[in-house]
């Protein structure tokens, strides 16, 4: 009980302390808002620009969710293909790795040349989110208990039955861990591409707002947009953690509370 209070209470107190300190510093040194706006100004900007920022948030979130969904489907389907046909794995795995290790911020300008901007942003979100799903699902599919595989063999299960009834459920914890990472990365990919598109872009996502406000020295709006981005990232993380918890709570050690 007291542990629970501490786990919720302490971070809130830390936050409150930081905000108060921030406010005091800004007031005490009379820092101008175009250098560092105080927390009250950031919140009031958030409120004043709510229509604009809300619209931008929806744009960025839509791209993020689309990129995440495509990455989830693509990563899981490819991991299954790798697991079922070794030749597919040998042929494509190195390129999946290359896609992952090439910094997306370097790829984004190229994509912006070849693709219309919304599609380029989506592609960036997909590229960074895709690999953790693939890698984790592959790991999960390959680490099924060998005796359970022998058991399925013994009862002459088809490879389809083995996949659906054994390998996919067994891989679920790793798959969900991959999805949790992918959710945050999809947001990062979308933001990187929007920033790369910069003020030349026709987009209106949150990252675009940040870049644009930066050029105009509208620092309070930059902070407000940044705050929204962080909140969006936190929301995505919690949503995926909740999904993971609901799927695993009956059986997986990671989701089960330990009695002490």
């Amino acid at each position: 009980m007291s542990g629970r209070v501490l786990r919720i209470g302490l971070p809130i107190m830390t936050l409150a302390a930081i905000v108060v300190a921030w406010d005091l510093v800004v007031r005490f040194f009379s820092i101008p808002p175009y250098v560092l706006p105080g927390p009250v100004l950031v919140l009031s900007t958030l409120f004043a620009d709510r229509d604009l920022l809300w619209h931008s948030l929806l744009v960025t979130l839509t791209i993020t969710v689309e990129g995440f969904a495509l990455a989830a489907i693509g990563g899981i389907v490819l991991a299954i293909a790798f697991n079922q046909w070794r030749l597919v794995e040998y042929s494509f795995y190195p390129y999946a790795v290359i896609l992952q290790v090439t910094p997306v911020v370097a790829v984004a300008p190229l994509l912006l040349i070849y693709l219309p901007q919304p599609l380029a942003v989506l592609a960036c979100a997909w590229i960074v989110a895709f690999f953790p799903v693939l890698a984790n699902t592959t790991l999960g599919l390959n680490s099924v208990d060998h005796n359970l595989i022998a058991l399925f063999e013994l009862y002459k299960a088809s490879s389809w039955q083995t996949l659906w009834q054994l390998k996919l459920p067994a891989a679920l914890p790793q798959m969900l861990a991959g999805l949790r990472i992918a959710g945050g990365l999809a947001l990062i990919g979308a933001v990187v591409a929007e920033i790369a598109a910069g003020s030349a872009g026709a987009g209106s996502g949150l990252a675009y707002r940040i870049a644009e406000s930066g050029y105009r020295l509208n620092v309070p709006r930059m902070f407000a947009a940044l705050l929204l981005l962080s909140l969006a990232g936190v929301a995505i993380f919690f949503a995926l953690s909740l999904l993971s918890h609901l799927a695993l709570r009956r059986w997986h050690e990671s989701a089960i509370k330990r009695e002490s």
Binding site: D145, N147, A150, L151, Y155, L166
Partner: protein, 254 residues
């Protein structure tokens, strides 16, 4: 259910060499009749688990002929670990062989209930494996092996990881099941005491390469219970088998 005297399993000059070049089994001959309870006894590395996997069809012999019931469901296998699906409850785990065979719903439900009842887990059908004790997990595993009414039950050191009290209890339960149904059982173990307590016949094996060293009959009457476990007769059989085993080990090492 089995015609007495009919041979269920026969291994003729069976050898198994692994890809690494290790000779796991060397010219093994073994005949197991219907309804028999036979133990394969030997130290680790004597190929007894390999022999069991060959009989189960989970691996192929390098030489010789293996004759066993071929169709799925005629064979039950119990691994050393319970080998349950952690995401499925006890009933779903036990039901797995029937589900894979596409058995119909009503039949499966009856068969699962019956199998759970036989191993004393009827009240635990909705529990998940992690909520059960080691002994109960092993019972679930046995129920799963029994649910297809197999002709032949293969058990690979199923009780080795359990504490002695649980092991004795499961030994008794297994004998009860065997006497009620008279399925053929091939039981792999490294425990002299367990093999003598359970079996009609013990096949003592030598390590590296795995060979059959001796076959020892245990003609004590069933039902066997705690009185048998503490009797002079039991101690005598244990001594005979122990001596054969130590000879097998020194003989095998030479």
């Amino acid at each position: 259910m089995n015609a007495p005297g009919k041979t269920v399993v026969s291994l003729r000059d069976v050898g198994k060499t692994f890809e690494s070049g290790t000779v796991a089994l060397d010219r093994i001959n073994l005949e197991v009749g219907a309804g028999e309870f036979v133990s394969l006894l030997g130290p680790s590395g004597c190929g007894k688990s390999t022999a069991l996997r060959l009989i189960a069809g989970l691996s192929a012999a390098s030489q010789g002929a293996v004759a066993v019931p071929s169709s799925a469901g005629k064979l039950g296998f119990v691994f050393q670990e319970p080998t349950l699906m952690p995401w499925a409850d006890v009933a779903a785990n036990v039901r797995l062989p029937l589900k894979l065979a596409g058995a119909d719903n009503a039949y499966s439900q009856d068969a699962v209930a019956q199998a759970l009842d036989r191993v004393g887990l009827a009240e635990f059908a909705q529990r998940y494996p992690r909520e059960l004790s080691g002994g109960m997990r092993m019972r679930t595993s046995i129920a799963r092996a029994l649910v297809t009414e197999p002709e032949l039950l293969l058990m690979d050191e199923p009780f080795a990881a359990l504490d002695e009290i649980t092991r004795f209890k499961l030994n008794n339960d297994l004998l009860g099941l065997w006497q009620a149904q008279r399925r053929t059982v091939i039981f792999v173990t490294h425990s002299v005491f367990e093999s003598v307590y359970l079996s009609q016949r013990i096949v003592v094996m030598t390590p590296r390469p795995g060979r059959v060293f001796a076959e020892i009959a245990i003609p004590a009457a069933y039902p066997r219970d705690e009185r048998f476990r503490t009797s002079a007769e039991y101690a005598g059989f244990c001594r005979t088998v122990s001596e054969a085993l130590s000879q097998a080990m020194t003989g095998g090492a030479l």
